[in-house]
Amino acid sequence: MAHSLESRVLAVNGPLITVEVIRGHHIMMNEVAYVMHGDIGLKAEVIRIRGNMAYIQVFENTVGVKVGDPVVFTDELLSATLGPGMLGQIYDGLQNPLNELDNIQGFFLRRGHYLSALDTSKKWEFTPLVTQGARVKAGQYLGRVSEGMFDHHIMVPLALQGGFEVMDIAGPGSYTVEDMIATLKNAEGRESPVSMKQKWPIKLPIRAYKERLLPDRPLLTQCRMIDIFFPIAEGGTACIPGPFGAGKTVLQQIISRYAQADIVIIVACGERAGEVVETIRDFPKLEDPKTGRSLMDRTVIICNTSSMPVAAREASIYTGVTLGEYYRQLGLKVLLLADSTSRWAQALRESSARMEEIPGEEAFPAYLESRIAAIYERAGLVKLYNDVTGSLTMIGSVSPAGGNFEEPVTQNTLKVVGAFYGLSRARSDQRRYPAIDPMISWSIYLKQMEASLSLLHPKWRTLIEEARELLYRGNDIHQMMLVIGEESISIEDLIILLKAETVDAVCLQQDSFDAVDRATPRERQVDDFLLLMDMVHTTFSFENREECKKEMTRLRNNFFQMKYYPFKSDGYQKYRQEIREILEERVKVE
């Protein structure tokens, strides 16, 4: 720092610090600053500038800070560091590798320690993909290294604007992420050295691609309720609101394990540390059925749990999205799971309240809506410069206060997502997991992806709508039965009700404790669902209620037992055969 006079702390209010900036020094919105406290600097971000006063939000506990402590501005926006070596990492909201911190700090997180997000000593085997003289622009590939099972392409830094000529490119060999691998020159003749690592300001979207495409093909989660009834598209967005205890996090965990994505980014944002621990400890041991490698090899965890500093919680989602966009630039299928966006919104609310901004609904700031929309808009399916597609799919959970979906975070999220998986307390009380309520949930992708879904079955969408219609009618009949009594409903209605209950029990409900049932591959989803629809289409007639209930229970139990057997195993075939026979017998009776 060239100036002799320093900017100094003027006031401290929790993590919000007011700084008196020295005259003549320019500061930038969202610039990173450090509050010097003894021999450590506490990282902070500028969130308001007024006259010669800057309001900064400190990402650490501010106990011990004094009025008059010096503050250093860095002239850099809050950024993520991108490059090979992020897979399998566990970062905090500011991209500090927690595993490395643990070696230095023991059990507790000490403040003021920041480490490089990438291992700077590790060497990567680099292969150049361009030659000297090539014309390139931001996002185009200069070379590649192999990281785990992926080709990790080294790009022209995304922050570089305009066209460049490759002046110099490194030959094949091992380099660290900090070694220079190319020199680029722009039209004005300014040269930029390039390494494998680059920085990108987390609050700005990465837009180095040819075009954005309409998400029209499904991203398989292996959760039947989602894949069959409320599918999500590759590059689409979905939200999972639900009261506490309805199973949001469990659902997110299941999706993170079994979803058919190349990369999964888990942002644990203001939630329990214990849940992240399960992922951290279990993933290295779990095998990704698609590749045979450890699940951790395709996962990045951003972990800013509820007891970690609130301001860093706000940053954590942006960090996650930026990493997701980066991998999308590599032509990969990325899934980002954020749990929970409500905690992120609360972090906004806390800092807004400290800045004494005029509050909006439920004391959330007025800009809540635009911030939520801006985050979800960063998801998408894109065609890159080399015509390969990459996608970033985003599923955010929402924790509405009191389980009431009318609150601002849920409502503003619903406006911008393509699928809504509403969890209900009633279903979770009945242990019907996943507790997604089929009566209120929706997905716009069922229609948007019709062309690709019809490859499963020519009438796929019609079948799904039929099944949903059956569920609605079953629900109506159930409600009616509660009012007028079981004896007063007709036997035809009873059959509809029992059919709907069977669809619910064997297709919608999925047992996450069971090794077979917890994840259903597409082929099985289709086979089982078509068989189930044959049952729905079969006309049943019974002598009396007792026979009806007995027969339908038997049928349901067959379906139920079948789902616990591995696909096409003997037990599976036995129950399948039995169901076929029952259904054919019925057709004969006709």
Partner: protein, 440 residues
């Protein structure tokens, strides 16, 4: 260089402002008034104006009183000498025991544990309350609230778990306790002979409100020290709603914009900072938290229970003197159910609740005056048995006996194909095999 400041410029609620220089955020101060000397903590700095929260309350403080800054934040004494003792929120002894001022002290409200230093909890804590053990087992290092309306026997339940639990150290934090309740706790612990492994931080309803804020922090900071040194610690807190109310009071006196029913917008983070102290340390001890959260108006959507529910790993609902099966949840149960406990545990747990939900539905239907079917009869019978054998708080049986009783109860009311349990489990556990073969 101890300086005393006498420029108290404003007093609002229990917050006082004083003109002072070179003061650290979060630092403690002693405020000496005509009646007493009280501790206070710096909660905001604005130029030379320092805002202090006075733990003993601002009553009787005059603008001319002296404030002396201590140069360090709140601390708790740590050592085995703490065991068997009772302290107030500020850490001063309430019993006749010796002064512990010479022992090492540690800052309260310290940094959070690095998530990668935590391990997945694996310890099942048997309480011999079947509604807990069978349906929502308590796991070591879990944080669980007991949601209850005023008047429910939550402190009795807390006492029962505290006495039976297999922990090395039990720390009881009483927040806004009635004095009688405190005496009952103390008596019960003494009688059961567990007082020597217990530390109590007691704030009673008649003590100054701000001191309430300290109780969870003191209890948990001490728990952390025991935990790091390898002890398995159980922290019991009652009642966290009183704690939240104290935060509300402070926030309002600070002119903060309230978010919901007057509570500060940071309620979630503030509660989480405490509950998240529950941990299983890699290679050391653990901290398990069981905390009472009373629900004003028996309303679970009230901001305190609501935010708590999102933070904790489940909750026990205490209603009409029993632990309610619906809504009660132990999120960590899948870590022990069927792996640490018996293989059939998970199936019994889910099926029995599912069927009990049906029996509640039948009850409602009948209450509306509908005819009783044969089916209804069976569900009613099941509901009655379920209440007597499992829900009643007087029931005192171990987990495996409770599971056996579960199979027996199912078999008394249903056929195997009606309970939705996979065949291999039915084959292994259904009493009186072959009563109803598959596909008959």
């Amino acid at each position: 260089m101890i300086v005393e400041y006498t420029q108290i410029t404003s007093i609002q609620g229990d917050i006082i402002a004083v003109e002072a220089k070179d003061i650290r955020y979060g630092e403690l101060a002693a405020v000496r008034s005509r009646l007493r000397t009280s501790l206070a903590q710096v909660i905001r700095l604005r130029g030379n104006e320092v805002l202090l929260q006075v733990f003993a309350g601002a009553k009787g403080i005059s603008t001319g009183d002296r404030v002396r800054f201590l140069g360090h934040p709140m601390q708790v004494t740590y050592g085995d000498a703490m065991l068997g003792r009772v302290f107030n929120g500020s850490g001063l002894p309430l019993d006749a025991g010796p002064d512990l001022r010479s022992y090492p002290r540690h800052e309260v409200g310290g940094p959070s544990v690095n998530p990668v230093k935590r391990i997945i909890p694996r310890g099942f804590i048997e309480t011999r309350v079947p509604m807990i053990d069978v349906f929502n087992p308590l796991v070591e290092s879990q944080k669980l609230p007991i949601f209850a309306a005023a008047g429910e026997p939550y402190n009795e339940l807390l006492t029962r778990v505290g006495i039976r639990a297999n922990a090395d150290v039990v720390i009881l934090g009483g927040i806004g306790l009635k004095h009688d309740e405190y005496l009952k706790f103390r008596h019960a612990f003494e009688e059961a002979g567990v007082l020597p492994r217990t530390v109590m931080f007691i704030h009673t309803a008649s003590d100054p409100v701000v001191e309430r804020l300290l109780v969870p922090d003191m209890s948990l900071a001490l728990a952390e020290q025991f935990g790091v040194s390898g002890k398995r610690v159980l922290v019991l807190l009652s009642d966290m709603t009183a704690f939240a109310d104290a935060m509300k009071e402070v926030a309002i006196s600070m002119d903060q914009v309230p978010s919901n029913l007057g509570y500060p917008g940071s309620l979630y983070s503030d509660l989480a900072a405490r509950y998240e102290k529950a941990v299983d340390f890699e290679g050391a001890g653990s901290i398990t938290i069981l905390a009472v959260t009373t629900m004003p108006g028996d309303d679970v959507t009230h901001p305190v229970p609501d935010n708590t529910g999102y933070i904790t790993e489940g909750q026990f609902y205490l209603k009409n003197g029993v632990v309610e099966p619906f809504g009660s949840l132990s999120r960590l149960k899948q870590l022990v159910v069927g792996s640490v406990t018996r293989e059939d545990h998970g199936y019994i747990m889910n099926s029995m609740i599912r069927l009990f939900a049906r029996s509640r539905e039948v009850e409602q239907k009948l209450a509306m005056g509908f005819e009783k079917t044969e089916d209804d009869e069976r569900f009613l019978k099941y509901g009655r048995l379920f209440y007597d054998r499992f829900m009643d708080l007087k029931v005192d049986i171990g987990l495996n006996s409770a599971l056996d009783l579960g199979w027996k109860t199912l078999a008394e009311c249903f056929n195997p194909d009606e309970v939705g349990i996979k065949q291999s489990m039915i084959d292994g556990y259904w009493p009186g095999q072959g009563r109803s073969e598959f596909g008959d």
